[in-house]
Amino acid sequence: MFNFMRLFGGKSDSSSEQAHKRLKFVLIHDRANVSPEIMEHIKNDIIKVISNYMEIDQKGMDISLENDEDAVALVANIPVNRMRPVVGRKH
């Protein structure tokens, strides 16, 4: 099928490319036996802990599992808006 998006320089993955990407994502979770639901719980717990010390941008936050050869890594990108005042906290 002729792809008009390609003609005008727009970026559009073919559906087979989309299948490839989506499979790669879902299989990282399948193989590590970590469901996306558990990731959501982990994310919420991290927010709770970090919020004691920093004000973070929850919408811009991203945590995910990534595959590097045989090892699986939990990668978190958490934008910090500012530190919370340290009043009342022991050093």
């Binding site: 087979s16 499979l23 790669k24 399948d30 193989r31």
Partner: protein, 261 residues
């Protein structure tokens, strides 16, 4: 000593039984003594694909329950007399056969055949364990579809955990869709599953036609799927056979499809 191969997939409907039947007939054509064991208890179909459904007297369940020995349950193929089917029961369920009982049967049969092919049921429950336990290695059948590849990955993980060697068959490839970018290609599937591939079978109407007749397509000379299965048989026998590029439809073939035959 037999080579014991389980044909499995995780997902249903990807062509496990078709692959088992074609591999069995293909090996028998080469003069090998082969037995096919159907472990899809309650949902048996291997008998139908081989045209042997009316000749079953005893089943795997009768053998397990020691009513008969396995030799009495074997159905010999009419045309290929060195090909045998050990059918399973259509009325019992998967709990009728424990993995250890299956292992005993496979061990007992090992001296009599060149190849023992075990057709595994879909799923990852007890039926899977029963089918896999006695196998030396596994053929995982999948299709270039997102759900079939995901389930294949799960089964591959399971098989690797039990130290089984694995080879892949990708079934029902539609070269025209691959060319258009609407179907996963072999490079992507290889990137994701990282398992040695021994078969790329094109989607072929003749597979349905052959199932209707109970004559596996590996016998058919004018079938693209038959060609692919013959190559798989050769590779299982240890031959180095290069993969032939699957042909997308030409303009005229597509026109023919659009307007009927």
């Amino acid at each position: 000593m037999s080579e014991v191969i389980v044909i499995t997939s995780g997902k249903g409907g990807v062509g496990k039984t078709t692959t088992t039947a074609n591999l069995g007939v293909g090996l028998a054509i080469r003069g090998k003594k082969v037995v096919l064991i159907d472990t899809d208890t309650g949902l048996r179909n291997l008998d139908l694909l081989l045209g042997l459904e009316r000749r079953i007297v005893y089943t795997l369940v009768d053998v397990v329950q020691k009513r008969v020995n396995y030799g009495q349950a074997l159905v010999r193929h009419k045309k290929y007399t060195n090909l045998f089917l050990l059918p399973t029961s259509q009325v019992a369920d998967k709990t009728a056969i424990e993995p250890e009982q299956m292992l005993d049967i496979v061990e007992a049969m090992k001296n009599e055949f060149d190849y023992i092919l075990i057709d595994c049921p879909a799923g990852i429950e007890q039926g899977y364990e029963t089918a896999v336990i006695g196998a030396d290695w596994a053929i995982v059948v999948t299709m270039p579809e997102i759900s079939a590849v995901r389930d294949a990955d799960k089964i591959i993980g399971r098989l690797q955990a039990s130290n089984k060697k694995i080879k892949l068959v990708v079934n029902r490839i539609r070269p025209q869709m691959v060319k258009e970018g609407t179907m996963l290609d072999m490079t992507s599937i290889d990137d994701i599953l990282s398992v040695e591939c021994i078969g790329q079978v094109p989607d072929d109407e003749k597979v349905v036609d052959s199932a209707n007749r109970g004559v596996p397509v590996v016998e058919w000379k004018d079938s693209a799927a038959g060609d692919a299965y013959r190559d798989i048989v050769g590779r299982v026998c240890g031959e180095e056979i290069p993969f032939k590029p699957l042909e997308a439809e030409t303009f005229w073939q597509r026109l023919k499809h659009v307007f009927g035959h």
